[in-house]
């Protein structure tokens, strides 16, 4: 089968959208810490942290441009340890995706459709993502091209509406709470950074895998810009304490302003851009998850297991959390931080280890392989 190819630009867009969706959702840097008005500083920290993650994940992937993470771990660690490592990564796809869908569905239920059973919302979202994943990564890439501009336009518009109502006095005093809350604030988003593991699955599909690190960094830069401007404007409109108290600050902030007599409560705009972004992320997760699982179980075509995987996703999104309080405790820094770090560092410690050992003991071996 011919490998499908996506452009590096599309890869950047996918990562950007996935990363920039998180602040639209719960804005964890604001809600999960008590940095309050200094949350923007945590966003800067996130950039540094994610950049490191990118070097870790994408950097290794770019060294094996033809291999996705499963093949790479087979290559570096051998079949069985490789499979174990891959299962950790696949679990992160599974869990991150179901978590994000669940949060989205929670928001719809709390804010818009209180009587709709949640399973219909998560199931429809996953179903739509599955159709995208079924069409292949090229389609996901093209879709991200299409959605990127829509997403950006919506975010700009919604941030623009906030801008005129914002009172930037709310951002004072600057950094008066010390550095610790700022650090804590960056933990949860960094933990969510395990979504970057999809990059490891996407690298073999890139037109130009050598520049993958570069593309990913651009995406993260853009996403951090969105996060910073969102958090600044939300704090400026709602106030620091209120912003941290609300469950979905961005949605609440947009709902809380009147653009004009006839245009108010446009929070659906924020929700829409969130939905679009979530969809891109979700279909990438579904694709990567199914692709990786098919690899691990030795199946030819990932499309065959798409449907069962989808069912697992739906079930997981419902049964993973009994109630909102559980989501909340998962998103607390002391849980999400270690969890996310485990998902990223556990596999990659071994992979890098394997890579370096190979490098040291068998430089000539590798050369032979390249010649072959």
């Amino acid at each position: 089968m011919k490998t499908e190819k996506i452009a590096n630009r599309q890869f950047s867009f996918i990562l950007f959208i996935m990363r920039a969706t998180i602040p639209l959702a719960t804005l964890p840097i604001l809600t999960a810490s008590n940095a309050r008005q200094d949350a923007w500083a945590s966003a800067l920290l996130i950039f540094v942290g994610t950049a490191l993650t990118i070097f870790l994940i994408v950097g290794l992937g770019a060294r094996f441009p033809g291999k996705d993470v499963v093949e790479m771990s087979w290559h570096l660690l051998g079949k069985i340890p490789g499979n174990i490592i891959s299962l950790v990564i696949l679990w992160s796809f599974l869990h991150m995706a179901s978590l994000q869908v669940r949060i989205y569905a929670e928001m719809i239920i709390v804010g818009f459709l209180p009587e709709t059973p949640i399973i219909f919302l998560t199931a429809s979202m996953i179903l739509v993502a599955m159709t995208a994943a079924f069409s292949g990564v090229e389609v996901i890439g093209r879709m991200s091209d299409l959605i990127f501009f829509l997403f950006l336009a919506m975010i700009f518009f919604s941030l623009g509406t906030l801008f005129f109502e914002a009172d930037f006095m709310n951002l004072q005093p600057v950094l008066s709470r010390g550095f610790e809350p700022v650090l804590v604030g960056s933990v949860v988003p960094l933990g969510m950074g395990s979504l970057l593991l999809v990059a490891a699955m996407l690298i073999p599909h890139l037109n130009n895998p050598e520049r993958a690190v570069n593309s990913a960094l651009w995406a993260m830069g853009g996403a951090v810009l969105v996060i910073i401007s969102t958090v600044l404007l939300v704090v400026a409109t709602l106030g620091p304490e209120e912003g941290a108290r609300v469950v979905f600050p961005f949605v609440k902030a947009i709902g809380g302003i009147r653009i004009s007599e006839f245009l108010e409560r446009v929070e659906i705009l924020a929700v829409f851009s969130w939905g679009l972004g979530l969809f891109v992320g979700l279909s990438t997760f579904v694709y990567c998850g199914a692709k990786g699982a098919a690899r691990v179980f030795g199946l030819e075509d990932y499309r065959h297991i798409l449907l069962p995987m989808g069912v697992i996703w739906v079930v997981l999104s419902i049964h993973d959390f009994e109630n909102v309080f559980e989501i909340r405790s998962l998103l607390a820094p002391e849980v999400m931080g270690p969890y996310g770090f485990f998902l990223i560092f556990f596999p990659y410690l071994f992979l890098w280890g394997g890579y370096l050992i190979r490098r040291i003991e068998g430089a000539d071996h590798q050369e032979k392989e390249e010649k072959r």
Binding site: V128, S135, F272
Partner: protein
């Protein structure tokens, strides 16, 4: 074996007469294909008559050629030929061969003599098989069957009535060429060739349909259209196995990949200027005899939203019109669903005064809003459909019934609420702004889907629908070209002539995905010169 053949030659008349009544069409066709012309004139003529079934129009004019008094016959179909040409043919055969007094050089075949020295027509071909003879005669040629020869000559005497080249009804433009294609493939080809007088404009011939024998031409600029695309088209033509096609729309079915998609993957146009513009971008045109609609492939979604006018008007105007059209397309697809979703599920988003209005007008309306909306949309679709088929003389009647009786009376009777009528009317107007009929229909069908989705999940249903639509549109390909190009995949260079309309001097590059064989249209440096705000400043400076 040879003995049997010898015996059968002894008794030539013993051959069994075929009973045509017992054969069905494919057997008849097979029989015709087997049949060859006989040496004797009368045999041939009876063969022709037998297979033609003595239907209306067949004319057999027997005559004798020249001094040698060779018996011959001219066979043609009345109405398909230009009578003057046939007369001319007969004249040269009967009179000229006599008056010239020339003697046929010995050893010079008679048929060659007739072909090369007698007949003055532009096109003469030798034909030996009955199938081919019929093929030509039925296309308006005249067959000359000469006694004693197993080869007949067909002479081009085509001349039937065709429609004049008129202005297009379906694709009207304010500014720009007025000509449009007609039903004759040759006239259509000439319309294109007149605009592209280069030998590299190639037209490959195909015959589609075992019975309709429709002539189809695939037109492209050699060296500009991708070879892969041309090969692909050829292979698809080879697979068009059918008994007949009437219109290019039927051919479209064979050429497309996604039978369930609502979106047209080839562009149908009546306008030669449109075809030429497409050819210049490396696309391929398919002309089908008997229909004025020419197919263009590969095309993108955005091409369907463009009209020729855009390029002929000034740039700001063209861009404005284009953006207007995109807005109209979006309205036509989403507006009714949006209305249902927002009023039924998110009343908080409707301005208070408007919501009160809507509520008060809906007071006493018996249906839920969704049903009301679906009802009115269906009524509108029915109205539109019946309006198309009606003769112009009673066309106004339908608009009176539709607009006055249905619209006004339904509101007065309290069956529907006025805002719904407004929304439906707005959507209808918006859908007429989409220049391409096929895409317009796609939008209209989608609209119903969106209404239903919004009635289930509100605006989130609309969102799910939008996402599905995006997935579908992104996965479509028209002959290898992504349908949503240049938006997805995003190609900055091609934006100048898709979302907006760029200046003609700025059209430096051909679209990346179709015109890749020679991406540069013109000298890029020359285009750059136009971007200078103060053109005088550059005097004396040299480029690069």
């Amino acid at each position: 074996m040879s003995f049997i053949r010898f015996v059968s030659r002894l008794f030539p008349r013993k051959k069994k007469k075929i009973n045509m009544d017992k054969l069905d069409i494919s057997q008849l066709r097979e029989l015709t294909q087997k049949e060859k012309l006989k040496p004797k004139l009368q045999d041939n003529l009876s063969l022709v008559r037998e297979y033609y079934g003595n239907s209306l129009g067949l004319q057999v004019r027997e005559l004798q050629i020249g001094r040698v008094n060779v018996k011959a016959a001219v066979v043609f179909i009345e109405g398909m030929v230009d009578t003057a040409s046939v007369e001319e043919l007969i004249k040269v055969l009967v009179i000229n061969t006599v008056s010239s007094g020339e003697i046929i050089p010995s050893g010079f075949p008679f048929i060659k003599y007739i072909k090369e020295k007698v007949i003055t027509s532009t096109m003469v071909e030798e034909v030996e098989e009955l199938e081919e003879l019929f093929d030509r005669v039925l296309r308006g040629d005249t067959a000359l069957i000469i006694d004693g020869l197993e080869t007949s000559l067909t002479v081009d005497t085509q001349g039937w009535k065709t429609r004049d080249i008129e202005e297009s009804d379906a694709e009207v433009t304010i500014r720009g060429p007025r000509e449009s294609f007609i039903e004759s493939i040759h006239d259509n080809m000439s319309l294109i060739r007149r605009r592209l007088p280069i030998p590299q404009l190639w037209a490959e011939k195909f015959t589609v349909g075992s019975l309709s024998r429709t002539q189809v031409a695939m037109v492209y600029i050699k060296g500009l259209a991708g070879e892969g695309l041309i090969k692909e088209m050829r292979s698809r033509f080879a697979k068009t196995d059918t008994d007949g096609i009437i219109d290019s729309g039927q051919l479209e079915d064979f050429l497309e990949d996604t039978p369930f998609s609502l979106f047209p993957l080839t562009l149908r146009t009546e306008r030669p200027d449109r075809v030429v513009a497409a050819l210049l971008e490396g696309q391929v045109a398919v002309i089908v005899n008997g229909t004025p609609f020419v197919l263009l492939a590969p095309v993108t979604f955005f091409a369907h939203l463009q009209a020729s006018d855009d390029h002929f008007e000034k740039v700001p105007l063209g861009t404005f019109i284009r953006i207007l059209r995109y807005v109209a397309m979006i309205l036509a697809i989403f507006l009714p669903g949006f209305y249902v979703g927002i009023v039924n599920f998110h009343p908080e988003m409707v301005p208070t005064a408007l919501l009160l209005r809507i509520a008060s007008t809906r007071e006493g309306v018996p249906f839920p809003l969704v049903v009301e909306m679906l009802l009115m949309e269906s009524v509108f679709e029915i109205l539109r459909e019946s309006g198309i088929r009606l003769p112009a003389s009673i066309g106004p009647a339908i608009s009176i019934v539709g607009a006055l009786v249905l619209g006004d009376a339904a509101i007065r009777a309290g069956i529907v609420s006025p805002p719904v009528v407004v929304v439906v009317a707005l959507t209808a107007i918006a859908s007429f702004a989409v220049p391409n009929f096929a895409l317009g229909i796609a939008g209209r069908i989608l609209r119903f889907g969106f209404i239903i989705l919004s009635s289930i999940f509100g605006l989130f249903g609309l969102q799910f629908g939008l996402l599905l639509l995006i997935v579908h549109l992104s996965s479509l390909r028209s002959y290898g070209v992504p349908y949503m190009a240049p938006a997805a995949p995003f190609i900055m260079r091609d934006m100048k002539d898709n979302i907006i309309r760029g200046w003609q001097w700025g059209q430096v590059y051909r679209p990346k995905l179709t015109g890749f064989r020679e991406p540069v249209r013109k000298d890029p440096r020359q285009a750059r010169r136009f971007f200078k705000i103060f053109p005088h400043d550059e005097e004396g400076q040299d480029e690069d």
